[in-house]
Amino acid sequence: MSSDVLLSVKDISIFSEDRQCNIVDTISFDVMEGSIHSIIGPNGAGKSTIGYAIMGIYHPCSGKIFFEGENISDLTITERAKRGITLAWQTPARFDGLSVYDYIGVGVKDKNLIEQRVAEALEIVNLNPDIYLKRKVDANLSGGERKRIELASVIAMRPKLVILDEAEAGMDLIVLESFMDIFNKIKELRMTILIITHREDIGMVSDNSTLIWDGKVLANGSFRDIMVLYCQKAGLKKICSRTLFNQFDESVDKIIEEETRENKI
């Protein structure tokens, strides 16, 4: 992870369509180049909204977004994609007649590399290219397959910043286990990852995190610190008590007690 800020979100606010309330309010955080950054929060906190705003699908009514030092707030989705930002959708669209090969290859700039990149990407997400290349990105794919193809399409594109919007949703347990490998491979390809998730076991791969609560940033910091605060806020007794990995099997009360003793909270 370098010390350069790749993405900087400064005080963005987004109103609801009827302008009755803020979906997100003065959100600010930085994403370091080469890092994995997670946006954590409960359902409805505004996490996906932030991701869509960075991609250019939603337009903030105030605030700015900087990418590689450039103010991209007024750029279109396509312009942001060409600068190296892309998004893997929580519920990926299905396309009538479009092959997996064509969909994954659409983001590859060098047309001579399409075949190679598509095959590599499918292997990274554990899909057999011989089987999947000819299939269509339509209703005949299961939800899990569609999600994996979505991940493959961002991998093949080799963007500078990948926004993964609840990438784990719809995935089976076997694939979830291999998520760590997928994230590591994406990092090896020198992409910066912004994970949007409400699952702590996914977020724990991140170097830094932002906790969103009721549309506001509650804290920016390390994932562990964020999780303590999250659990405290949510009234949870244990962090990650139901995770697959069992790495954070600590009592929140105990952490808070310790940290209070150390005057950290």
């Binding site: 991609m55 699908i57 279109t76 989705i77 396509t78 994609a81 060409k82 892309t86 998004l87 959708w89 519920t91 990926p92 669209a93 396309f95 009538d96 007649g97 479009l98 092959s99 064509d102 659409v106 983001g107 700039k109 399409s153 594109m157």
Partner: protein
């Protein structure tokens, strides 16, 4: 221009939709009927299939009979083309597939030079019991919007048979086209009807009526109509399904994309039931490309036009 070179030009136009024309040349062993305007240039029968044509002033009358029990792997080719710029061509085909037969009919209507050319077709297809009948019709109307084309087909599908209809007009211009296909489905039969059309400029207009009447118990059908109207083109689609027998199931799906100022599309899915145990459904979506699809492709670096073109191309 000789008859043979007339036919060659029509056959060459088939390359516009990525077909290997050697499939249609006389050396190909499958059964075929090749027509240039009102001249039958090739008739080639095989065992189990009777092909008979009679030339009339502006076209032909043709009988095609597939005898009982005939199972044919190679498609039967019907090539109805007109090399001229103007004129009227009328085709009256009657196709009878007897019980227990299995066949694919590949029909091509090619008018590569049409400037003011009219093509009318009034045909009947009778499919017996326990058959599999696939009817593929591809059209190419040249690049000058000069064709007026009106095919009308009545199809009867016997008990326990499968009928598939694929009508494609996605290459070149359309001109003016009005298609009607009415299918009557008997007991336990299955119907799969697909229509794809692409109106590319303000001189293109296509009206399609695709109707399935479910007349026998347990008959099932699906009608899928997909179209795109760009550059001022017009598309209108009627998808009709009527359930008149017990336990019939039918679905009509119309999807149309409209792009550019002046383009118009209309879809009217009409579903009717006269039996209490029918289950007939419809869905239709018109207008611009689905924004979720557009956003997904734009997030990979395509601009809106490129994304729309890709979606339309793959949909059709």
């Amino acid at each position: 221009m000789s008859e043979r070179s007339d036919s060659s030009e029509i056959l060459n136009s088939l390359e516009k939709y990525d077909l290997d024309i050697s499939d249609y040349l006389p050396s190909h062993s499958g059964p075929k009927l090749v027509l240039n305007f009102n001249k039958i240039t090739t008739v080639s029968e095989v065992e189990g299939i009777i092909l008979k044509g009679r030339e009339i002033e502006n076209g032909i009358i043709a009988d095609i009979v597939i005898k009982e029990g005939t199972v044919f792997e190679d498609p039967i080719h019907l090539c109805f083309g007109v090399n001229k710029e103007t004129g009227l061509q009328e085709i009256f085909p009657r196709i009878i597939a007897e019980d227990n037969s299995s066949v694919t009919l590949q029909a091509h209507c090619s008018f590569p030079n049409a400037k003011n050319l009219t093509h009318k077709m009034f045909g009947h297809i009778y499919v017996g019991k326990n058959c599999k009948f696939v009817y593929n019709e591809t059209h190419y109307h040249g690049e000058q919007n000069g064709a007026t084309v009106a095919p009308v087909s009545y199809v009867y599908v016997g008990e326990n048979s499968y009928f598939e209809n694929n009508f494609f007009l996605t290459q070149g211009t359309i001109g003016r086209m009005k298609i009607q296909i009415d299918i009557y489905a008997f007991k336990d039969s299955r119907i799969n009807s697909n229509v794809k059309a692409f109106g590319k400029n303000s001189l293109d207009s296509i009206h399609v009526r695709d109707a399935v009447f479910l007349e026998g118990e347990n008959a099932r059908s699906i009608i899928k109509m997909k179209a795109a109207a760009i550059g001022g083109g017009e598309v209108m689609m009627f998808g009709i399904t009527e359930g008149n027998a017990a336990n019939t199931t039918g679905h009509v799906d119309c999807t149309e994309i409209v792009k550019d100022r002046g383009s118009r599309c209309r879809a009217i899915p009409l579903i009717r039931a006269t039996d209490e145990s029918c289950h007939i459904t419809h869905e239709a979506s018109l207008g611009k490309v689905d924004s979720a699809q557009l956003n997904a492709l734009m997030a990979r670096g395509l601009d809106e036009d490129e994304a729309t073109d890709l979606i339309i191309k793959n949909m059709l």
